[in-house]
């Protein structure tokens, strides 16, 4: 059986807003589909800025998600 899930890890206030730092989701083909799903499930995220990494590489714009990938949601921090 092939792996048909993706792991989504969340940091900072993104983890707070989705109430976990790890999601296991059914496979989604690219970051746009994933964002659409996240915005629908967690409307709070629409008002939050964050960067996306796929397998630890920052993704800019619509980017394909490989099967079995780990996707990270990375917000900016300002504290010091």
């Amino acid at each position: 059986m092939t792996i048909t899930k993706i792991r989504v890890v969340a940091f900072g206030m993104i983890a707070e807003k989705i109430k976990t730092n790890l999601l296991e989701l059914e496979y989604m083909q690219d970051t746009e589909v994933l964002l659409g799903y996240l915005y629908q499930q967690y409307p709070d995220l629409q008002h939050t800025k964050f960067s996306i990494a796929i397998n630890k590489k920052m993704a800019v714009g619509k980017t394909a998600i490989p099967v079995g990938a780990e996707v990270a949601l990375l917000p900016p921090f300002s504290g010091g």
Partner: protein, 362 residues
């Protein structure tokens, strides 16, 4: 033997690397939770010239994390206190003390004296200003920031023409109330201790070419789980849109507005409004132990936590002006009060008591 022997006998480091540290000129922005460990370790390592820029004074609630300061330093300038302490420890390094906040007006003159910039500030307007100036002036930037139990470290603009900068990762600044800082959410002192120490380590490695650095990478660290995550950064075409075209354009940019601080006004506008509306109220939303206090003006003190509960007090005020230390909490208070009093004139004072035009400097 001298006091650097233990580091130059390290295989691969050597006297050559030590000499590079002695020649280096680094600027530390903010002598706070991040800046304190950065300063302690860079001075101990023998970095030849260290600038400390911070216009804030020490307050009691700083002491759990700002380990250069103690109870005897309350109310004193952080930059001066830190400089005094480091000068007393080491006679042969140059410490430049700049007890001012970094602004669009002073940034060019200050940055021009240094080879490398370390950001230990605590707000987005400063972080975007520092990033943009580093891009325009070609200075490497050792970035560090914390949020609750997590921290970030990166070396930005450290790779010549192809460098990644902060706006490649986060092109548009979040609004101030989107992401709170330490004063609002709390922090264990050791977290900025760890993140600041990582910034010091990355600075030493970058200056000497020792080991693999975080150039064009961002490390995320979680204090509670000890998990670390390193992301390889990428160029983003959107980043160019936000960076002013020149230092002259940067000087004319209002970073408070860029960072969505649109409900804010400056102190001059605040006093003009209070003259115009004698029934208006000025409110300090900081905790009782925070300094400096505003003197010579009539105002109320109601900490942010109590704003909702006490909002009835301002039912008849025709104008409510709120201020705090740096303008973040007062902006939150605006949002709270706008819910109770839609349509009322409610503003936050940009930059708070620490703003360059604050009456405490007059």
């Amino acid at each position: 033997m001298d006091r650097f022997e233990r580091q130059y006998i390290l295989p691969g480091f050597g006297k050559e690397a030590q000499h590079k540290l002695e020649q280096a000129k680094v600027l530390v922005i903010g002598a706070g939770g991040l800046g304190c460990p950065v300063l302690l370790y860079l001075a101990a390592a023998g970095v030849g010239t260290i600038g400390i820029v911070d216009g804030d004074v020490v307050s009691l609630s700083n002491l759990n994390r700002q380990v250069l300061f103690g109870e005897g330093d309350l109310g004193l300038y952080k930059a001066e206190t830190a400089a005094h302490f480091l000068k007393a420890k080491y006679h042969d390094i140059k410490i430049n003390c700049i007890p001012e906040f970094i602004t669009t007006q002073n940034i060019k003159a200050i940055f021009s004296k240094y080879d490398l910039i370390i950001d230990g500030s605590d707000n987005f307007p400063t972080r975007y200003l520092v990033n943009d100036a580093c891009v325009l002036m070609g200075k490497p930037l050792v970035f560090g920031a914390v949020y609750q139990n997590e921290g970030q470290v990166a070396i930005l603009n450290g790779n010549g023409q192809n460098s990644i900068n902060y706006r490649d990762i986060f092109p548009d600044p979040p609004t101030a109330y989107e992401i709170p800082n330490c004063n609002e959410t709390g922090v264990l002192g050791v977290l900025p201790g760890i993140i600041g120490t990582l910034q010091a380590a990355e600075t030493i490695k970058y200056l000497t070419g020792y080991g693999e650095t975080l150039v064009d990478k961002m490390l995320f660290y979680n204090l509670l789980s000890h998990q670390a995550y390193t992301m390889e950064l990428s160029k983003n075409q959107d980043s160019k849109k936000g960076i002013p075209s020149s230092m002259e354009a940067l000087e004319a940019t209002d970073y408070a507005v860029v960072c969505g601080d649109g409900d804010s006004i400056d102190w001059e506008e605040a006093f003009a409004l209070l003259n115009k509306f004698p029934g208006g109220t000025l409110v300090d939303v900081r905790e009782a132990d925070e300094f400096p206090k505003l003197k010579g003006f009539k105002y109320q003190s109601v900490p942010l936590d109590l704003i909702d509960e006490k909002h009835q007090e301002w039912l008849n005020s025709e104008l409510i002006l709120l201020f705090c230390q740096s303008g973040v909490r007062s902006l939150k208070a605006v949002k709270m009060l706008e819910k109770h009093f839609p349509g009322k004139k409610i503003h936050s004072i940009s930059g708070g008591i620490e703003a360059p035009d604050s009456p405490i400097y007059k």
